[in-house]
């Protein structure tokens, strides 16, 4: 003996809409649970994507060479008497030999006052070479970048960020003008396109000058870092070893550099942010459990209010199994509807948040949407099962006689 699915759903639906307030409560609880999962995972994923995106804006297949060996035992290098040698332009040139290395850019970093006519401001100065532009995936809005050529030759030219341009020149065209940086004069040859903030520097408020000019300006031959772009991701380990070996030979057998790979950085952040997303998803899942308990409560009330009906259905030939199915169908119908409402609510919430934070791609990941749905239906099943079993085990006569 079996009831059709359509009949069961129709029967349950009629029972549910007879108590709209009760149905609304359950729907509300479930939909808030589902919506919070979708919104929170959306935010978590958005944050993750944002950070990863920022990291990839550093460039691709990037290795960053820093002076000094940073190990767990940082003090050991002092104890063993090893001294840190500066990274130099000669070191940079020596790296260009490897066939797996695509680009190398030395970096000197400092700050100086830049001025034009009466305006001046404190600016971050980057000394580098022509390679920097493509290595960092930057682009220009005007003029040209540092020219190719001998990196040891200083020349009085500079490329300025968008904000520097507008602050020093306001409306006038900066290209070709001479600005003062520190105690020297530089001719502006280009303006960087406005790309907003990169994760490490604000490209809008920097000035880029040839690396040799920066050495003169800051009166030091030491490089801040050397950026190395490899031809492929696979060759990174090989290139890393090559860099260590080469620099070691050049530094009298002392291994006094640290190489950070972009992948390692990315991986760490990816892990941290994934863990964060999972944590807030877990918190949201708790609210679904609370919704489940509410379902159970309301279902138990329903069972006690529908005892006469249960007794009657038994008298009319419903088996224990059928009664159970009817009551579980109630719970599932409510949880599916609640989940669907929650999905709408969550996606709507995500859209709304996106309006306020346009840079954040906070769309909920597919697994969260499917997961929220599955969890809410399971919640309905799980918390609907107990009241349903209670309903099925009700003694039919007692429930009938009571009226």
């Amino acid at each position: 003996m079996s009831m059709g699915t359509r009949d069961i759903l129709h029967f349950s639906f009629a029972a549910i809409i007879r108590h709209p307030l009760r149905a609304m409560l359950v729907l509300f609880a479930i939909s808030i649970g589902v919506a919070s999962i979708i919104i929170l995972t959306g935010l978590g994923e958005g944050a993750r994507r944002f950070v990863l995106n920022e990291f990839s804006s550093l460039g691709t297949n990037l290795l960053i060479v820093l002076p000094g060996k940073s190990e767990t035992g940082g003090a050991m290098s002092i104890m063993s008497g090893a001294t840190t040698r500066d990274l130099t332009l000669q070191d940079t040139s020596s790296l260009q030999r490897h066939h797996q290395i695509k680009r190398v850019a030395p970096i000197i970093f400092g700050a100086a006052e830049a001025s034009w006519q009466q305006r001046s401001r404190e600016v971050s100065i980057i000394g580098s070479t022509s390679e920097l532009l493509s290595l960092r995936h930057w682009s220009l809005s005007q003029g040209s970048f540092l020219p190719h050529g001998d990196m040891t030759r200083a020349s009085a030219i500079c490329v300025i960020g968008q904000k520097v341009a507008s602050e020093l020149f306001s409306q006038s065209n900066p290209v070709g003008k001479k600005i003062r940086i520190g105690d020297r004069r530089f001719r502006v040859i280009g303006v960087l396109a406005s790309e907003g903030k990169s994760i490490d520097i604000d490209t809008q408020s920097i000035i880029i000058i040839p690396v040799a000019s920066a050495q003169n300006l800051f009166n030091t031959p030491a490089l801040f870092r050397i950026l190395v772009e490899t031809r492929s991701r696979e060759s990174q380990e090989q290139v890393k070893q090559f860099i260590i070996d080469t620099i070691k030979t050049r530094h009298q057998g002392e291994e006094d550099i640290t190489i950070v790979s972009q992948d390692a950085l990315l991986g760490t952040f990816d892990q941290i942010l994934t863990a964060l997303t999972l944590t807030i998803t877990g918190i949201a899942a708790i609210s679904l459990t609370v919704a489940g308990i509410l379902i159970m409560n309301i279902m138990l009330i329903t069972v006690s209010q529908r005892t006469a009906e249960i007794g009657l259905l038994k008298a009319l030939g419903a088996s224990r199994h059928q009664i159970q199915i009817i009551f579980i169908a109630d719970a599932i119908l409510l949880s599916i509807t609640g989940a669907a409402l929650g999905l709408l609510l969550g996606q709507g919430g995500n859209l709304l948040i996106h309006q306020f934070l346009p840079t954040l791609d906070n769309s909920a990941p597919g697994w969260a949407i499917v997961g929220a749905f599955v969890v809410s239906i399971c919640t309905g099943l799980l918390f609907g099962a107990m009241p349903a079993r209670r309903a099925a085990n009700l003694n039919p006569i007692q429930s009938l006689v009571r009226h």
């Binding site: 003996m1 079996s2 009831m3 059709g4 009949d7 029967f11 009629a14 029972a15 007879r18 006469a308 009906e309 007794g311 009657l312 259905l313 038994k314 008298a315 009319l316 030939g317 419903a318 088996s319 224990r320 199994h321 059928q322 003694n395 039919p396 006569i397 009938l400 006689v401 009226h403």
Partner: protein, 227 residues
């Protein structure tokens, strides 16, 4: 045929045992018209519940149409309840959210009978009970007599051989009650076994066989006599 042998039913009420049915032996032939009377608590409703398989005896055997049914699984019992037995209650027990037609069709829905057949059989019964005009009304829009007629429709839609009526007129005025009794007796004339539990002597007297219960035992049984 209903055959009850040495049926006992004991209820635990607090720390007291109530012997609701004491060694009941009763045989009811197919097509009989039987009334069960007696004071409240005499065990007549318990007997009706056991015959209807809504309750299990503590001991004894119950053969329905020659088949022992007391030890059947819940599922098998529900199939027999569905196909062999119709119930009519004093308080109708219609589902308020369903229309008259849907209430009548409910046992067919539980039995998984397809839609088209359900519709046909429901229409036929509605017509026979003079309820066609009321088919799509909810119970609250129906009079007491109409409600009980819907309940009769529901009890007979599966074409059972036995109809169990617990105070079928107890909640109706004289006129409506009389009409309901007439319908039940017509069903009996067409071969259905009609068992009526009642306080009402006038209703009880109409049955061809009268049983009186006192203290969980049969006091009087006028026996089977063909009308």
């Amino acid at each position: 045929m209903i055959e009850l042998q040495n049926i006992n039913r004991i209820f635990q009420v607090g720390d007291q045992q109530v012997h609701a049915l004491k060694d009941i032996n009763l045989t009811i032939q197919n097509g009989e018209y039987l009334s069960i009377m007696g004071p409240s608590g005499s065990g007549k409703s318990t007997l009706l519940n056991i015959i209807g398989m809504l309750d299990q005896p503590d001991s004894g055997s119950y053969h329905l149409q020659g088949k022992e049914v007391t030890h059947l699984s819940d599922n098998k019992q529900s199939i027999i309840r569905s196909s062999e037995i119709g119930f009519i209650f004093q308080f109708f027990h219609l589902l308020p959210r369903l229309t008259a037609a849907e209430n009548i069709a409910l046992p067919m829905m539980l039995a998984g009978i397809p839609h088209t057949e359900r519709k046909e059989r429901t229409d036929e019964i509605l017509q026979r009970l003079d309820l066609t005009q009321r088919a799509h009304h909810k119970p609250e829009q129906l009079s007491g007599g109409q409600r009980q007629r819907v309940a009769i429709g529901r009890a007979t839609i599966m074409r059972p051989k036995v109809l169990l009526a617990d105070e079928p007129t107890g909640n109706l005025d004289r006129h409506a009650g009389h009409e309901v009794v007439k319908i039940l007796e017509q069903l009996n004339q067409r071969g259905i076994t009609l068992i009526v539990v009642t306080h009402d002597p006038e209703l009880g007297e109409r049955a061809h066989r009268k049983i009186e219960f006192i203290d969980g035992a049969i006091n009087i049984d006028t026996g089977t006599k063909q009308a």
